[in-house]
């Protein structure tokens, strides 16, 4: 499998969650993309952003016409998204293990600013190998960052996996957790709108990619 093919897998792995998020969960539109009270979605797993771009185009954040020449010199759309180039993109990502710590910060910032906005961050199960995530998982629970939801796309790509499952890794630190079928739109919607009074991890299982 080539690098490009792996990124296509990565895009396919997130498409259902991304669609339900933008279609039914997130309180953000192109008109409110700078509103301090908006919900913020951080794509930590910046690999394979084609699904992300497609959803952003469908929801009017970017023009659909720019999708075709992505990664070209003049295109704002790269193999890893850049928040300075694409409206609606909250963080520039690509290097793994950055989004969750940043999300803890944005969620704390929303809390300090008395914002009604929430923070959602999407990570991959393979990405959880990066130690920075585990720093952030612990900190989010200790600081009771209740307006934070982490969505883990689990396609079993982690090198060694997690004993007892990924949800357990979050739960042991004090997170509320849910495990769902990452292709079932109703299950995704129900999980992402469930009330929680502490940080919340939703593990979205999908088919093993490779």
């Amino acid at each position: 499998m080539t690098g490009d093919e792996k990124h296509e897998w990565a895009a396919a792995s997130t498409i259902d969650v991304l669609w339900v998020l933008y279609d039914r969960v997130l309180n953000v539109t192109p008109a409110t993309a700078d509103d301090p009270d908006r919900d913020r979605f951080l794509l930590s797993k910046g690999h394979g952003p084609m699904a992300y771009y497609a959803v952003l185009a469908e929801k009017g954040f970017i023009e659909e016409s720019i999708l075709d020449d992505w990664t070209s010199w003049d295109s704002p759309l790269g193999q890893h998204p850049d928040r300075m180039l694409v409206r609606g993109v909250e963080i520039s990502s690509g290097s793994l293990g950055h989004g969750l710590p940043i999300a803890v910060g944005t969620a704390i910032g929303q809390r300090i600013g008395k914002s009604s906005g929430r923070t959602f961050v999407l990570v991959g199960d393979g990405e959880l190998d990066e130690g920075s995530n585990h720093e952030a998982i612990a900190v989010a629970a200790r600081l009771k960052v209740a307006n934070l939801t982490a969505i883990v796309i689990d396609n079993e790509s982690a090198m060694y996996g997690w004993p007892g499952g990924i949800a357990r890794r979050f739960a042991v630190e004090g997170w509320q957790t849910a495990e769902i079928d990452g292709r079932d739109h109703e299950a995704i919607f129900t999980a992402l709108t469930a009330p929680h009074d502490r940080p919340y991890a939703v593990v979205a299982k999908i088919e093993k990619s490779y």
């Binding site: 928040r83 300075m84 290097s95 293990g97 940043i102 944005t106 910032g109 300090i112 612990a138």
Partner: protein
């Protein structure tokens, strides 16, 4: 007498009190000096990568994060977070370190960071302050807290006997004809003593802010001498600013001598900071020797 660290704590606490944007993020070190009950004081525990990531998120949410730790743990360990979470996200933050190159050499190499400014120098858009006296810390920090830019403030236990006004550009403290010596932060007193001991007829410039580099100030100082010979004395890795000296003087035949913490080998000794200064020729004797040989004739 107030130390640079105390001046930093006092100024940031003043910022927390008066500016609703100012938010401190620490990884245990120094955290007890900030009001624990304030929600804008965030101690993440001994987790430096997350410290920087959280600071990025706070900045994205409109706050002004002050990120603080011992220099190696603030700059070297989370370097990719500084590059991506702060720089690549194009957000601002104020990074403040203690420990400098080898303030406490009894703790060994793990607590030494002579490469910190060189690392920031690989990233665009950073202002770098290297104050030489506690009274320089407060105005530099107050200004940094007001803005939205990316700032690194390098504090040290070593300081000059007096403070100089801080602001944009280098400050000329001596005027001579044989060349120019640029002294950065805590190196100033030693540079002045070395120049005096050698009766060197040189211009001495002082910098508490080394990035942005005051190219105009250096060029003008050089133009007023008879020789375009520039010695740069920095309290961190030797040569950190020499590329900017060369760029500044690219139209003028010139000589540059870079003085700083030597690069050639790791010094596996404990001892005192003064011992390390001597080993790196950063004491008055070593600097005097460098001044004598470079400005000879």
């Amino acid at each position: 007498m107030t130390t640079m660290r105390e001046a930093f704590i006092q100024t940031v606490n003043e910022g927390i009190e008066n500016d609703p944007r100012v938010t401190v993020v620490t990884a245990v070190i120094s955290s007890s000096n900030f009001p624990q009950e304030n929600e804008r004081v965030v101690d993440v525990g001994i987790r430096e990568q997350t410290m920087v990531g959280v600071a990025s998120g706070l900045a994205l949410a409109g706050l002004r994060p002050v990120v603080h730790s011992y220099a190696p743990f603030l700059v070297e360990r989370p370097y990719e977070q500084i590059k991506l979470d702060i720089g690549h996200q194009d957000v601002g933050a104020v990074f403040v370190s203690i420990g400098a190159s080898y303030d406490d050499p009894v703790w060994g190499r793990t607590h030494q960071s002579p490469g910190d400014v060189a690392l920031f120098d690989t990233l665009p858009g950073w202002t770098v302050h290297v104050p030489g006296h506690p009274d320089e810390v407060t105005p530099l920090l107050r200004q940094a807290l007001k803005e939205d830019n990316r700032v690194y403030v390098r504090l040290s236990l070593h300081e000059n006997t007096q403070a100089y006004p801080v602001g944009e550009g280098f400050t000329a403290l001596r005027h001579g004809k044989r060349g120019v010596v640029l002294a950065v932060g805590p190196m100033l007193d030693r540079v002045l003593k070395a120049v005096d001991s050698e009766n060197a007829d040189v211009t001495v410039l002082y910098a508490a802010t080394i990035r942005p580099f005051d190219s105009d100030g250096l060029r003008k100082a050089v133009q007023q001498t008879d020789h375009a010979d520039v010695m740069v004395v920095e309290p961190y890795l030797e040569g950190t600013s020499s590329h900017l000296v060369s760029e500044t003087l690219q139209q003028i035949p010139h000589r540059v001598r870079s003085i700083g913490v030597k690069r050639h080998a790791e010094l596996r000794n404990y001892g005192t900071a003064e011992d390390h200064d001597a080993a790196h020729d950063l004491d008055v004797v070593g600097l005097g020797s460098a001044v004598r040989s470079f400005f000879r004739g």
